[in-house]
Symmetry: none
Subunit: 209 residues, 4 copies
Amino acid sequence: MANKAAPDAPPGSAGGTPTRRYSERSRQAIFEAALALVGEVGYEKLTIEGIAARAGVGKQTIYRWWPSKAAVLLDAFGSAADAYEHEGLPDTGDLAADLKAVLRATVDEFNDAAWQAPYRALVAAGTNDEELSRSFVGRLMEPGIRLYVERLRAAREAGELDPDVDLRIGAEMLLSPFSQRWLMRTGELTHAFVDTLVDQVLRGLRRRD
Amino acid sequence: MANKAAPDAPPGSAGGTPTRRYSERSRQAIFEAALALVGEVGYEKLTIEGIAARAGVGKQTIYRWWPSKAAVLLDAFGSAADAYEHEGLPDTGDLAADLKAVLRATVDEFNDAAWQAPYRALVAAGTNDEELSRSFVGRLMEPGIRLYVERLRAAREAGELDPDVDLRIGAEMLLSPFSQRWLMRTGELTHAFVDTLVDQVLRGLRRRD
Amino acid sequence: MANKAAPDAPPGSAGGTPTRRYSERSRQAIFEAALALVGEVGYEKLTIEGIAARAGVGKQTIYRWWPSKAAVLLDAFGSAADAYEHEGLPDTGDLAADLKAVLRATVDEFNDAAWQAPYRALVAAGTNDEELSRSFVGRLMEPGIRLYVERLRAAREAGELDPDVDLRIGAEMLLSPFSQRWLMRTGELTHAFVDTLVDQVLRGLRRRD
Amino acid sequence: MANKAAPDAPPGSAGGTPTRRYSERSRQAIFEAALALVGEVGYEKLTIEGIAARAGVGKQTIYRWWPSKAAVLLDAFGSAADAYEHEGLPDTGDLAADLKAVLRATVDEFNDAAWQAPYRALVAAGTNDEELSRSFVGRLMEPGIRLYVERLRAAREAGELDPDVDLRIGAEMLLSPFSQRWLMRTGELTHAFVDTLVDQVLRGLRRRD
DNA sequence: AATTAAACGAGACGGTACGTCTTGTCTTGGG
DNA sequence: CCCAAGACAAGACGTACCGTCTCGTTTAATT
C-alpha cells in the first residue's frame, strides 16, 4: 500500500538490502514540477510527460518509481505536509472553544485556492482508485481525525462528555459535514458554520446531569 | 449551469424558440451505453468513442450536446434517477426509527457495486470541475438532503426537537459522516454505524425538558 | 459521361415532361460560389458544405445534381468558358508568327494566379478519376487542341507543311511541352520559350524543297 | 525541399551529431504498406491511418517523419525507383532507333495498371502542392529528362543534329506529348504513336545538308 | 584509480483517445 | 411538396500522452 504510493523507501530507510541508488535531486525536481503544474493546469491536464519535461527528467525516471500521476502527487503532497501535523489539538479546558479555534483556522486553510488544487486532485483520484484512497486517507487524513478523537477522549475523561459516547463517530460528526461542504460544494465554509456545527454536535455528546 | 450538463432542453420544453431538433432515440441509446460501459470498465476507461460505438451513434452527436463524458453520465444518471426520489421520508412519528430505516436502506444501496461506479465517477469528476459539481449537487444530492431537512422540520414542529436547532446542519450531521465514509473509505458502512450515528445526532437535536 | 458531370440536362432541354423543377437561380449561385471559393481557399479546402453555405442553398441540392465537388467545378468552369473559345486561331499567312502570338497570350493567361487554382484543381482531380478527366478533356481541352490542328491543316493545304505530317501529333508537339511545364513546373513559361518551341517544331513540319 | 520529403538522413549519413535514431524496419514497412494500399484503393482513399495499420506502426511514427501522405508516397516511390535509372540511354549510333526502343518500353511500362496508381497520385498531389511537385520533379522526373538531353547531345556532337538545336526543348518535344497523353488521357499510348512522334521530332532537329 | 552496474536524460516506438472536420444521407418544418 | 437548414452515422484528420523500450552518459560503490 504505502509501497505503491511511496516506492522503495528513501535513502534513509536502512534495511539490509544494498540500498537502491537514486537521485534525490530528481525526486525533488519531480515533486516541485508536479505541485507547480497541478496548480497551473489542474489535475486532469497534468501529465507525466509534462512533469518530466518541467523537472528536466526522463519519463522513465518517473515510471521507475511511481505507478501513476496520482501517486507522484500523493508523495509530493505528503512530503510537503510531513512538516507540521504532529502537535495535537490545543486543550485549554474549554472543548467548544478549542474546537472552534482549530476549525476556524482550517476553514481559512481550505478556502485558500493554492491549497485546493492538489488536494482536490488527490481526493478525486482516490475516489476511483481504492488503493490510492487508502494511502491518502492513511497518510494524510487519518492522523488528523485521530487528533480530534484524542481531544474528545480527553474531554470525556475530564467528565465533560457522556461516558457512552462513540468518540470516532463524534469526530466524524464534526469533520465530515465540514469536508463534505468543501469537497462537494454543498454549502459555504464559514466561521459561523463551524461555530454552529460545534455547538450542535457537542450538545449531543455532553454529559447530562 | 444545468444548461451545460443537460443541454438544450428536450422537444417538449415549450419556449418561443423554434425548438432545437434532435433524436430522442440517440439520446436514450447514449444513456444506456454510458451507464453500461461505466459499470463494465469503470470511469477512467470510459471513453466517448466507446459510448458512441456502443450506442451506434456518431461521436459528433455526443460532442454536439454534451461537453464531457462526465456531463453525459450526469444526464444519464439523472434521467435514470428522476423516476423515484419524489416521495418524501416516512413519518411514523418515531423520528429515530424512521431515520434508521431509511439510512439502513441507503447503506445497502451504497454497498451495491454496480451502483457505485457511476456515482463515484461523478463525484470525482465534480471534485475538479466546479460547474459539474454544482449540477451534480443541485440535481442529485440537494433534493435528497432536503428530504431529511423536511423530516426534521416535521419533528421540530411536533415538538420533538429543540426549536433552536439548525435543521440544515442537523441533516448534514447525519448525512455527511455517512457519505464521507463511503466516498473516502474512512470507515465501514454498516447498519450498526448508522444506528449509532442517528442516536448520537438526535441526542444533540432533541428538546430538553 | 457528360451525364455524370453535367447532370440531367438544364430546363431548356425539350422533353415532353415539363415537370422536373430545377432552379436555374440555384445553379448559377452554386457556380459562382464554387469558383469564388476555389480561388479563395484552393481546391483541397473547397467543400460542398462551403459551396452550399455561400450559395445560400441546401447541401442536398448540390448532391442531387452533381456527384462530386470536381464535377461542380467542371460545370462551373465549363459554363464560364463556353463564352469565348469559338473563334479559331488567327491566320495571317505567317504560321510561325500566328502560333507565337497565340501561345504568348496563353503564357500570360497561364501565369495568372487567379486562373490557375480551379484549372489545376480539375487536372489534379482528373488525374485520378478517369471519367472526370474524359469530361474535362472533351469539354475544355479537346476544342483547344483542335483549333491548332485546324490551323496546321490550313498551312499544310497552303503548301507550307509537308503533306505527310501528322497534324495531331504536330499540335501536341506544340502544346504538350507547354502544358507540361505549367502543370508539373518542369520549367518556366516565358515568351522566349514558346518562340523557340514554335521554331523548333515547325522546322520538323515544314516542307522540304 | 528534399529535406522535407526525405527527412533527417538515414543512419549512414556521418555527421558529428549523435545520429537521430530511427527504425529502418518501420521505414520499410511504411513504404511497402503505402505502395500496396495506393495500388489497392487509389490515392484519394489512401489514408495515413490505413498505412500505419497495414505497416503495424503507430500513426505518430508516420507523422513524425513525413508531413503528408503524398510525401510518404514520394519517398516510397523514390526509394523503389532509386535502384535503376542510372544507366543512360542506349547509343547504337542510330538515334531514331534508340529513342523508339526506349519510348516503346516506356509505353509498356506506363500502360501497366499497377504502376499507374502511385505515379498518378503523386502527379495529382503535386499539381496542387508546389513544394511536393518540385520534389517529385527533381527526384523522379528531371533525371529521366536529362538522360534524353544527354543522348541528344551525343547525337549533336556526332554531327547528326543541327548545332543550333535547343536540346532541352527537343527532349520536351519528345517526352511531353507522351506524358501528356498518359496523364490526361488525351490520346492512346501506342508504339505507333511514339514511332511517329520520334520521326516527326527528329525531322526538326536533324542537320540539314 | 579503474571497474561496473544502476539510474539517468532523452526521445522513438506501437498504441488509444481526443476533439474537429467532411462526407453523403435523413429528417423536420416553413414557405 | 419543395427545399433550407441542419442533425445524423461514419470515419479520417492531426495532436497529446500513454507506458515500454532502447540509446549513450553520468554517478557511486566496489574493487
